[in-house]
Amino acid sequence: MKEEEKIEILADKYLTNLPLDRLSFDFSAKVMTEITASEINKARFSYKPLISKPVWATFFAIMGAVFVYFLISGQSSFQAPDFSWFPKQLHSFTLPLANFKLPVISGTVISSILIFSFMALIEISVIKRLFDRRTTQ
């Protein structure tokens, strides 16, 4: 028999039976106390965003749609949509909308709002992670 095999048999015989070390009797109680304390702490200081994720998603979808609309149409300002294709019976409803005029917003302003919102979103997530780390330590 090779030396390698002999050592393997020897190790199987003696190392498999090696008992594990014992720790203090109240170890699990200590762990659970710490966990309970951290849970209470978490509940007390847990981060709850003012604006939920679906709301943010809807907001960005609308912003994106507006951005794409301006990009495709090539317009630099918002104009009231044309409701002439609406059925005549509904004209009384669309009339106020036709007269409604939004303030003229330049493309630069829209772009800067978008960039600012994006940066704010990143910053919020970074701050959240930092806050979480502090409360869990």
Binding site: E3, L18, M32
Partner: protein
């Protein structure tokens, strides 16, 4: 005869070592780790106590063998269980919970060693002597059980952290080579090589111990 009886007795005890509490292990063995994790995720925080009981001794033993200090090892073990609880949502369940827990233990122990700037003393053996396995076997068999265990533990403690981890987890007979490879970030063949080298190193160290000098024993 006495040694055989003691070996048999302690071998019988080993089946309950995992939980640390024989009564608890009997009642809780039916619930597997994943079911307990499900319960914890559903808000039953106390279910985690069962997992702690089940793995505390292995986690502590790993930490103790790497750290070589009871207080530090207990601190590491406590930290491991708290961090594991906090990161439980990130546990996907593809691997065993114990694999995940032991990997955390290994990394935390190494972190603690680095933080304490304490380099463990291990024997770096470039040229290992020939192991006389039959002589080692004879000597170990003639020893009292307690002395035998003490010597083996002393030899393990002189291995490197990675070797200690591999030997301890492998001979606990709970994980495969593939699982150990995943825990340590090594390849399977690398684990096999390290296991072979660790075994040889361990018995070389054992052979060199004063207790193995026959004259002293006689």
């Amino acid at each position: 005869m006495v040694t055989d009886f003691l070996n048999y007795f302690f071998r019988g005890q080993k089946c309950n070592q995992k939980s640390g509490d024989p009564v608890l292990s009997l009642s809780m063995n039916h619930q597997d780790d994943h079911q307990l994790i499900k319960a914890i995720r559903a808000g039953q925080t106390q279910a985690y106590a069962t997992l702690v009981k089940r793995y505390e001794r292995m986690v502590f033993s790993l930490a103790l063998r790497i750290m070589k200090n009871r207080e530090d090892a207990e601190e590491v073990a406590q930290d491991v269980f708290v961090k594991a609880y906090q990161a439980l949502d990130g546990f996907k369940g593809d691997a065993k919970f114990s694999s995940w827990l032991y990997r955390i233990t290994y990394n935390r122990s190494l972190d603690m060693l680095a933080r304490k700037k304490r380099q463990p003393t291990f024997k770096n053996m470039e040229n290992m002597a020939q192991v006389n396995s039959s002589q080692i076997e004879n000597m170990l068999d003639t020893m009292e059980y307690q002395q035998q265990q003490k010597l083996l533990k002393n030899a393990i403690n002189q291995l490197e952290a990675e070797e200690i981890f591999i030997v301890t987890v492998y001979y606990y007979k709970e994980h495969t080579i593939a699982e150990i490879a995943e825990m340590t970030g090594l390849t399977e063949s690398n684990v096999k090589i390290k296991l072979y080298r660790s075994r040889k190193k361990l018995f070389t160290l054992l052979q060199a111990m004063p207790a193995f000098n026959k004259k002293e024993l006689l």
